[in-house]
């Protein structure tokens, strides 16, 4: 029984990628349906960030990636962004020397002026704190606020699929909840989300489905409603890699 929704927005098949000679991912199969939140969990060094970079085109890869029916296996981030697949990289890398507003404008580089202005306002509406600081340079923001700004950047293009790479890293619990709540709101608006996270409980609470990645392969795929998920995950991380078959 297929667990993915009949209309898969993102479909990854046999994806392998690495850095130079170092192979990190071996033949990944993964999918994200329209309006779904999918969590990607796994221990460090498993390749979660590498997987997102391979999907968005920041890294060269072999294998097949389709988005909204179109083949993006050879596409770079410039193309994927315009097609509605946006990748918010880890480490809240915003442009510190520019204002929050300019950071958001840059996220929509190439869009018509008026439309861009509207989208920026939309993005800011998710994060009122950042809206209040729109004319301040990003360097004056705290780490957590910079992370919110980075997620806001991801929203400017009103993506169909938003990929978030460890948005909770370095954030206090309150801010983490805020960011993840924004993710929930996005799902209401129809945006699908692929979320890489270290905080298992929070990720499981938010997501519809979960993949576990360990040592470069998918070792677990399940709906978050299934039983025993935390212990199965622990086993997958520390053990020999329990591939949980789907029921």
């Amino acid at each position: 029984m297929p667990i993915s929704a009949p209309d898969s927005l993102l479909k990854v098949a046999g994806l392998s990628a690495g850095y130079g000679k170092i192979g990190v991912l071996n033949g990944i199969d993964l999918s994200v349906g329209v309006g779904e939140i999918v969590a990607l969990l796994g221990p460090n060094g498993a390749g979660k960030s590498t997987l997102l970079k391979a999907i968005s085109g920041l890294l060269p890869r072999t294998g097949n990636v389709t988005f909204g029916g179109q083949d993006i296996s050879r596409a770079g981030p410039g193309d994927t962004v315009r097609m509605g697949l946006v990748h918010v990289v880890e480490g809240h890398r915003v442009f510190t020397q520019q204002t929050c507003y300019d950071n958001l404008l840059l996220a929509g580089y190439g869009m018509p002026r008026a439309e861009l202005a509207t989208r920026v306002e939309e993005a800011l509406s998710f994060f009122p704190e950042i809206a209040a600081k729109r004319s301040d340079r990003a360097i004056t923001l705290s780490g957590g606020q910079q992370q919110m700004l980075a997620v806001a950047q991801g929203l400017v293009r009103r993506p169909r699929l938003l990929m978030l790479d460890e948005p909770s890293a370095g954030l206090s619990p309150v801010l983490v909840d805020r960011v993840l709540a924004a993710a929930g709101q996005l799902r209401q608006a129809g945006t699908a989300i692929l979320l890489v996270e270290q905080l298992i409980e929070k990720a499981l609470a938010l997501a519809d489905r979960v993949y576990a990645l360990a040592r470069g392969s998918i070792v677990l795929e399940a709906r978050t409603s299934e039983a025993n998920l935390p212990s199965r995950l622990e086993h997958a991380y520390f053990g020999e890699g329990a591939k949980a078959p789907l029921t």
């Binding site: 000679k21 170092i22 460090n44 905080l199 622990e234």
Partner: protein
């Protein structure tokens, strides 16, 4: 290829005089051709060959700076100018009473050496482009001074060059003089290239961090090379002024600097034969393209552009047939831990390396927030934790790259200073790196021999002159490296270029290099990353045996299986602090560790 367990390590490359001659045969052939040339009696071409020899005297030295050490010293013609005017002025007696020509030549060497160091010193502090600019500025200044200091140099009018007396008087005598000096320079630089100093230079160029970890002191080595290279340039200058018979400042154009540079690049970095052929080629070329003389610099520049874009490896790469032979595809790495007892010393007292209260800031972030850690002989200490917890940073603190804002390190009770990575090798602290650091163009064996650089007894001069201690060092290093490669299971690949190896093989090669130090402490930074399950098992067995032989091992890893399998103690880091420490079993069931690792 299945590995046979009980085979002996692969035989060392044939050593001895005959093999050495065979290796140097192309150079010898060129030399013999030069010796026989006078039989043709062609005076015109004799001058061309003299010019090539004079240029080669300079280029052979510059080759060590540019081709080996990788310093982009574009303005080296300035030293040629200095040498030329020194010799001329001293023999003509314009500044001091007249000296004999040979004495003046020696003085030129000294002046060249001095200014070689002066021009070269900025390389230790400046970025590449900045350094290139300063050498350019230097050569311009020298030309300006030559123009202005009329009393000594004759200004724009120029000054006559020296005439060397018997036995090297003008005509065939001078020819043999140039050939002799070119031959000596070839021999000396060839010896250096094949010594631990030559390998260390290339290591500085391609894998500086690994060179530091092996104890290579970059400043001392670079200064030595600049001194040597400057001296050669000075001598070339003296010969040049004699060859020209009369020198003016515009004989020393920027074009010459470009020519020297291209000779090295055409020839290929890290080679002696390549740049020699390159120099010959570029000296002789204008003779065949007489109508194009006005375009010569243009063509040189076009040639340089072509080389940089298309064949950065130069002639040497093209002639490297040995490394075109295909390698076996399904190679297995089969370490032989039982050979370790031949490498590692059996310690007397157990060693301890302890960190106390380390605090380290990067910008506003506390990368390490109060850490105590101790690694002991015969103990494998695992260091694990989530991304950003400070694992590799801790390792970098131990190996001396960072200075913490608080805390100390102790080696057997004595304080260990920070911010001095090359000193670690002398303390027998060895390490590997998260991303393998290798010298792509050198063989696997040469890469591993770098690890033993500090154990050489011979000096630079002894290597330069191929004195007995140099050969003893080389033989010992060679043997030790082959043994280390046999231990990690890579001895069959010893003569292969390192950049042809697979990633997992490179990881084991790094361990072989670290073993060359016969380390009391071995720091491993994620050695299992990118290895297959079977390779990880063999790696584990190897590390266990290393520990049994008495070495203290610190293992930073993500692979939980490896950690729990072989470690005696495990420390878990989180946010720069110790979260838990104990035996693997204790850690495995520790609630907080599980949740921190899984992140709840």
């Amino acid at each position: 290829m299945a590995a046979v367990d009980q085979r002996a390590p692969a035989p060392a490359a044939r050593s001895g005089l005959w093999a050495r001659i065979e290796k140097a045969s192309p150079l010898l052939a060129v030399g013999i051709a030069g010796l026989c040339f006078p039989l043709l009696g062609d005076d015109y071409w004799a001058v061309i060959i003299e010019r090539a020899c004079v240029y080669w005297v300079l280029v052979s030295g510059l080759n060590l700076v540019v081709g080996f050490a990788g310093q982009i010293a574009i303005g080296w013609v300035g030293l040629l100018t200095l040498g030329a005017y020194t010799t001329s002025a001293m023999t003509a007696g314009t500044a001091l009473p007249a000296f004999p020509a040979y004495v003046a030549l020696v003085a030129s060497a000294a002046i060249g050496a001095l200014f070689g160091v002066i021009v070269g010193l900025p390389a230790l502090r400046l970025r590449t482009f900045y350094f290139a600019m300063t050498t350019l500025g230097f050569s311009t200044i020298v030309t300006q001074v030559a123009l202005a200091w009329k009393s000594v140099t004759g200004g724009g009018v120029g000054t006559p060059g020296p005439v060397f007396p018997w036995p090297f008087d003008p005509g065939w005598g001078f020819y043999y003089f140039c050939l002799l000096l070119a031959g000596i320079c070839t021999w000396m630089t060839y010896n250096i290239a094949g010594s631990r100093f030559g390998r260390a230079l290339v290591a500085i160029r391609d894998a500086e961090v690994a060179a530091e970890a092996s104890g290579v002191a970059k400043p001392a080595l670079l200064v030595t090379v600049f001194l040597f290279s400057g001296a050669l340039a000075g001598v070339a200058g003296g010969l040049f002024s004699s060859l020209q018979s009369y020198i003016t400042p515009d004989a020393f154009t920027f074009d010459l600097s470009v020519l020297f540079f291209i000779s090295i690049l055409i020839g290929g970095r890290g080679s002696i034969l390549g740049p020699l052929l390159g120099t010959l080629l570029l000296t002789v070329l204008p003779e065949f393209a007489a109508p194009l003389v006005a375009w010569s610099t243009f063509l040189y520049a076009a040639l340089l552009l072509l080389i940089v874009l298309v064949i950065p490896g130069g002639i040497a790469d093209l002639l490297d047939f040995k490394n075109r032979r295909p390698l076996e595809r399904h190679r297995e790495i089969v370490p032989r831990p039982e050979l370790l007892s031949r490498i590692l010393p059996h310690p007397g007292e157990p060693n301890v390396l302890a960190l106390k209260g380390i605090v380290l800031h990067f910008g506003g972030v506390r990368a390490i927030d109060g850490l105590d850690l101790a690694i002991r002989s015969r103990e494998i200490h695992g260091l694990i934790g989530p991304n950003g917890s400070g694992k590799t940073t801790t390792l970098n603190v131990i190996s001396g790259y960072y200075k913490p804002s608080a805390g100390e390190a102790y080696l057997n009770g004595k304080p260990l200073p920070f911010e001095a990575p090359p000193t670690r090798a002398a303390h027998r602290i060895a390490r590997t790196f998260q991303t393998p650091r290798l010298i792509g163009g050198a063989s696997v064996l040469e890469n591993v021999m770098i690890g033993g650089t500090i154990d050489g007894a011979g000096t630079f001069v002894e290597s330069m002159l191929a004195l007995p201690r140099h050969w003893r060092d080389e033989a010992r290093l060679h043997e030790a490296a082959m043994l280390a490669l046999a231990v990690v299971g890579l001895d069959q690949l010893a003569s292969v270029r390192a950049d042809r190896l697979q990633h997992s093989e490179l990881r084991f090669m790094e361990i072989a290099r670290a073993l060359m130090l016969r380390p009391d402490f071995l720091l491993l930074d994620e050695p299992a990353a990118g290895l297959s399950a079977e390779e990880i098992r063999r790696l584990g067995a190897l590390i266990k045996q290393i520990s049994k032989e008495g070495t203290a091992v610190l293992l930073v890893e993500h692979h939980a299986d490896l950690i729990f399998d072989i470690c005696d103690r495990v420390t878990v880091l989180n946010l720069g602090k110790e979260l838990a420490a104990g035996t693997p079993a204790e850690i495995r069931s520790h609630r907080e560790v599980v949740s921190a690792y899984l992140g709840a």
